[in-house]
Every structure is written in structure tokens, then in C-alpha cells.
């Protein structure tokens, strides 16, 4: 505990933590829009395409100057987005091929430039490798201002165009019919995603940046259906993963931050996919089991009612074997007991027979009528 306290007390670590949380929140917020607009893999292509820009910025500035590196990364990212658009619009190649080409070729050019810089740069170029996998420990205090500025700008822009972004994300055709400049809004969202990628490179690196965009948003989506809540939650998950990843990476010497952050964010996704109320896998399995039980109970009740009707005896005592014949399977003992507990049926004896018999109670008859009424309407208007 004291070790953790020492770690948190250190000025450097505080800087790194703040930066990591800031970057995580930013990519979480903008990633929500990318995921909703099914542009997750565009993020992958743009982040790989940032590598030549990082080297370009380094070459122009002659050293590790964050401003120049970010500008370079943003420039080649934009170039990649334009190339994507050109390929998809002007040829018959599909989007996935365009994404793959842009991603791999830009990255390859980046690798060439990286080796070029490293061949002539010596010690000064050592920091460049950290952009591949991310190295939160390399975040300087002066970097925080740039990150904070970009984050604030993105936040203000998102708030200012909230309604428009929402409409474009969910129903672009309707937005166009309403006279909104859809192309400009989509471009603005793509530019903001590119910005998030560019500033996030220090945390996650070009290869894994895509996960930092997608994972928080995919996790947040499971918990809520509202855009506002989703964006906020996504930002929170991103910030938490970023900070936790930076902490782990700082505590263990030499572990790259990117993979740690990605694994933490992925854990959040797995947790959400399994447990989120309403959508989660476990939740849905329980709901399905409950629905199956309800339908099974309804069939038992209506079968008993059927026997009573056939014998014109409301208090007819049905033998359990008759139920089995009517349902096609032996009625589960647990369900019979549960129905008896709810006071809908009761076990009765029918001497001289020794097999178990069942009889509908008053409440059971009402329930059976309700169930068959429900069934009747369901039959008239199938969903």
C-alpha cells in the first residue's frame, strides 16, 4: 500500500496518470460515435496511417516535439482518410479492401521512414519506437497542455453539435431530408476521431489505438440505450482503463502501456457483455429461462383446464400421466411444485388410484383463462 502511495506521490507518475486518463476519456467519448456509425475499422486504418506522420513530424522538428509529431500524424491520417474515400467512391473495390490497403501501405511507408530516422538520428530518435506500442511514461508535463486543449476542443464541439451528431449517427438519411449538411457533419466526426487517435498514440500506440476507441464504447453500449449516457460512460471507462494501464505499466518496468490498457478495456467489455442488465449474455439467458418456465406453466394450466372442460367438471382431478400425454413430456416436478406454491393447482388423491392427481384452484382457473386468452390474441396477430 505504501508502495502505491509512493508511486502516486511522485510528480512524474501524477503527470502520466493525468495524461493517460485524459486520453482514455477522449478516445472513449469519440469512439462511441465511431462505433455507432460502424466505422470502427476506419479507426484502425487511421491509427496505422499516423505512423509516417509521426516520423514526418520528427524529421521536420528535428526532435521529439509533440506538437510537430501530432500535426504530422494528423496530416497523414487525413491523407489516408482521403485516399480511402477516393478508392471507395471512384473504383469498384469494396470498403474493406480500401481499409486494408490504406492501413498496410501507410504503415509500411511509416516503417521505412522510421528506419531512416533511426539510422541517422541516434539517441534523439529513441522515443519514436514508443509510438508503436505506446509508452505512457514518456508523457511530459508540457504534453498535458496539448492533450487538454485537444480534449476540451473535442468536448465543446461535441456539446455544440450534439443534436446534429446524434441525428447523423443514427439516421443520416433523415438528417439529409431535414436539410442538415450531413457530409460536413460526418467529416467533422471523422476529423475528431482522427484527432483522438493522434493524441492517443502516446498511450496506446499506432497498432492498438483501435481498441481504445472501440472497447470503451462497446462496453458502454451494453449498459445504456441513451446516447448521452453511452458517451459519458464510454469516456469514464476509457479514462479508467487508461489510468489503470498507465499505473500497471509504470509499476512494472518496461511493459508497454498500450497492451496493458487494451487488456483492461477488453476486460471491461467482457464483463459488460456478460453482466449488463437487459442485454448481457447471462441476463438474456435468465430471461429466456424464465420465459420458457412461464410458457411451460401456461401449458400445464391450460391442459388441466382442457381436461376439466372435456369432462364438464370444474373440479376435475387429472391424473399426472394424462398431463404427460397432453404435454408430450413428463411435467417437471419442480414446475408442478411451483404452481402449487403459487396456489394455482393443488395435489389431490383419487382413490382407489394411487398415482398423483392434480386439480385447478379458483385462481388457477382464472390464470388458465388469462393464458388461453393471451394465446388467442397471439394467434390472431402473430408478432
Amino acid at each position: 500500500m505504501t508502495a502505491l502511495g509512493d508511486l502516486l506521490g511522485s510528480h512524474v507518475v501524477r503527470t502520466v496518470l493525468t495524461g493517460a486518463a485524459l486520453l482514455g476519456a477522449l478516445s472513449g467519448m469519440l469512439g462511441a460515435f465511431a462505433v455507432l456509425r460502424r466505422q470502427s475499422l476506419l479507426g484502425d486504418a487511421l491509427s496505422h496511417a499516423a505512423l509516417p506522420g509521426v516520423c514526418l513530424g520528427f524529421l521536420i522538428a528535428g526532435g521529439r516535439d509533440l506538437g510537430a509529431i501530432l500535426a504530422g500524424a494528423f496530416f497523414t491520417g487525413a491523407l489516408a482518410a482521403l485516399a480511402m474515400m477516393l478508392i471507395v467512391r471512384r473504383t469498384t473495390l469494396k470498403t474493406d479492401a480500401a481499409l486494408g490497403i490504406v492501413l498496410s501501405v501507410f504503415f509500411a511507408v511509416g516503417v521505412v521512414m522510421l528506419t531512416h530516422v533511426q539510422a541517422q538520428g541516434g539517441a534523439a530518435s529513441a522515443g519514436l519506437g514508443s509510438f508503436l506500442f505506446g509508452q505512457a511514461a514518456a508523457i511530459l508535463q508540457s504534453d498535458l497542455w496539448i492533450m487538454g486543449g485537444v480534449g476540451l476542443a473535442a468536448l465543446l464541439l461535441t456539446l455544440a453539435f450534439w443534436k446534429e451528431f446524434k441525428l447523423v449517427s443514427f439516421d443520416a438519411d433523415f438528417a439529409r431530408a431535414q436539410g442538415l449538411p450531413v457530409l460536413a457533419l460526418e467529416a467533422a466526426l471523422t476529423v475528431m476521431v482522427a484527432l483522438a487517435i493522434v493524441v492517443g498514440l502516446q498511450l496506446a500506440g499506432v497498432v492498438l489505438m483501435v481498441a481504445l476507441l472501440i472497447a470503451p464504447a462497446a462496453a458502454a453500449r451494453q449498459w445504456t440505450g441513451g446516447l448521452g449516457a453511452m458517451v459519458a460512460l464510454s469516456a469514464a471507462i476509457g479514462a479508467t482503463s487508461g489510468a489503470a494501464g498507465a499505473l500497471v505499466s509504470a509499476a512494472t518496468r518496461g511493459l508497454a502501456t498500450g497492451p496493458v490498457v487494451v487488456l483492461i478495456a477488453t476486460a471491461a467489455v467482457v464483463f459488460s457483455l456478460l453482466l449488463a442488465p437487459g442485454r448481457g449474455v447471462i441476463w438474456r439467458a435468465r430471461a429466456a429461462r424464465r420465459a420458457r418456465a412461464r410458457i411451460g406453466d401456461g401449458r400445464i394450466l391450460t391442459a388441466l383446464q382442457g381436461f376439466a372442460d372435456a369432462h364438464r367438471d370444474a373440479g376435475y382431478r387429472s391424473e399426472q400421466g394424462m398431463l404427460e400425454a397432453a404435454l408430450g413430456v413428463p411435467p417437471p416436478a419442480g414446475r408442478l411444485a411451483a404452481l402449487a406454491r403459487r396456489g394455482l393447482i393443488r395435489p389431490v388423491a383419487h382413490p382407489p388410484e394411487t398415482t398423483p392427481h392434480w386439480e385447478l384452484t379458483e385462481a388457477g382457473r382464472a390464470e388458465a383463462a388469462a393464458v388461453s386468452g393471451e394465446d388467442a390474441t397471439a394467434r390472431e396477430a402473430p408478432r
Partner: protein, 379 residues
Amino acid sequence: MIAAFFDSIPAMIVLTGVLVGASAALLGSFLVLRGAAMLTDAISHAIVFGVIVVWLLTRQTAGPVQVLGAAAAGVLTVALSELLARSRLVKMDAAIGLVFPALFSAGVLLISLHARDVHIDADTVLLGEIGFVWLDTVSLFGLRVPVAVATLGVVLAVNLGFALALWKELKLATFDPGLAAALGFFPGALHYAVLALTSVTAVAAFDAVGAVLFIAFAIAPPATAYLLTQRLWLMVTLAVALSAAACVAGYALAWRWNVSIGGMMASMTGVWFALALLFAPRQGLVAQALRSRGRRLDNDCRVLLAHLSTHQGAPEMPEENTLRALVDHLGWSEPRARAAILRAHDRALVERRDGLLTLRKKGVAEVESLLGRGAAAGL
């Protein structure tokens, strides 16, 4: 002489590249046509996890166990992504983007935790070390052949055998999966077979070009060939040839500029694609621009003919059937009007008679075919 070839370092490096490029482009063609190119991205990242796990379990860095075991991780990624997408909790693109980074991260972390001293470290995972493939050799038929070359040679042979043996089935399953399924072939199984072979190829190529550059070889050459031809066999052949050419050119340039060999080879596939994008005979941007320019000119020409036929023989003819009228009345720029007149003149549709533009016989016929017989009846 053969021994000298296998002892030459540059020859081995280029040969490795060519083998990687040919194997990847062969399979990549079917993936690009199917619209599943980004699965290569997922597979080639995920095998990092497979490579390190198999190494931790068996301590083998090469051989069939290693290749097949690591390739399983690639297929696993695709299967997991599809499972996740089918649960409808996330969309397919997000599912891909969730699964492979997770496996890749786990792989990278395992490498930095357990395998620092081995030949794999985090940077070679991404980029490969094609420059050092000749260090690790194996003896085959009395020749010292690099292990990478031997492995990739076998992989290429398997891929080639697969493609040739199942050519018809692959073609059908790629272009019309519905019909393939109806005819009793298994398009899903074939698709997975292609993906499994892609994984195997990615693993075999891993030491040479790493996780990311492999994608360039698998996607860019087939996409380039796709822009150049509409025949499948020609597309696959071209893709393989372009891939091989990229390796040769890339090595030469990398040697000259002293930069990453694998990176330069992959960059060259991008250069081929850019050239095809610009200059492909049918789909290229230049050809498209020329075509649309030609169409615009033809259209202007038709407007010109209609204009002339309206006024020909009428009292206002001296004013209307001139270049000036096209500029002043139709609002055309002067070069545009001149180009249209020149075009009509070249096609013997109009002539200049007494300084006025006049329809010739062929021009009258063209107007009639355009506007109907009545329109030119006054002539």
C-alpha cells in the same frame, strides 16, 4: 551454381520476400473478392498470440507444430469475431476490432514478460527481420537453405495446390455463395479453409515481415490486379507477379537508401496500387476523367446540333449560327464552344458556309435521330 545462389544473402532475402508475397497474394485475391480483406488484418495480428503461446508450451521456434498451432489463433480470432457479431451485442466491424487487439495485446505482453532473450521481441513482432533470414539455415539435398525459405516454399506449394485443386469451387463460392451452397459445395467451409491457409501463411511469414506488413502483401497486390482485369485467373496471376515484383524492387531501393527491407517491399505494393489507381485502362482515375470529358464533349456536340437545326434557314440564322451565339445565348465559355464545334466538324456534322455554321447531311440525320423526324422537317 545452385549452391552459390543459396549462399548469396541478397538472393535469399529477395527469395523469401517473393515467397511471402506470392503465397499471400494468392489467398488474398479470394479474400479481397469476397469483401473479407480486413480479416487478414485480424488474423495477422492475432497469430502473435499463437506464436508466443506455442513457444511457451513447446519451446519450438519453427516446424510444423509451431506453424499449425500459431495458425489456430488466427482462425480462432475470426470465429470469435463472428460469434460476437452473431450475438448481436456488437456489430461485425466492432467485433473484429475488439477480438484481435485483445489477442495481440496478450501476445505482446507475454513476449515482454517471458521471452525477452529469445529472437522475438516486441518490435520484430510488428516488422519482422527479413534481413536476417539467412542466419538460420537447414540442410536440404546437400544445400544450406534458410529455414524461412524452406517453410515458405512448402506453404506456397500447399496454397498453390489448394487453389488449383479447388479452383472451380473457389470461384463459385467467391462470386455466388448462395448458388455454391445450393449445389452442395460448402462455401462456408471453403471460406474457413482460405482463412486457415491465410493464418498458416501469416505464421510462416511472421519472422520475415511481421504482423502488419503481411497485410500489405495479402491485400494490395490483389486489389491492384482487380483494377486491371476482370478475369479471375488473370487477376490471381497478376497479383502474384506484382507481389514478387514489389519484393525485388523494394529490396533494391531499401539497399540503396539503407532503410527497412520489409517496409520498402510492402511500400512498393502500395506504389503499384497507386499507379493502377491512376492509370488502369478501364477503372483508372485518368481513364475515368478522359471518358467523362469525352461524354461531356459529345453532349455539347448534340446541343450544338439541336441549336443549329432550330435556326437553320430562319431569318435570325446569321445571328444564331455563330460561335458568338453559343457563348452569349447558351452561356458556354469560348473554349468549350470551340471544342464542341471542332468535334462536330471532325465528325463531318457541320461545315462553315458563308461564315455561318451549317448542318451537313450527316448532321441533319443526327438531329433527326435525336429529336425525331419532325424536328428537322423545316430544313
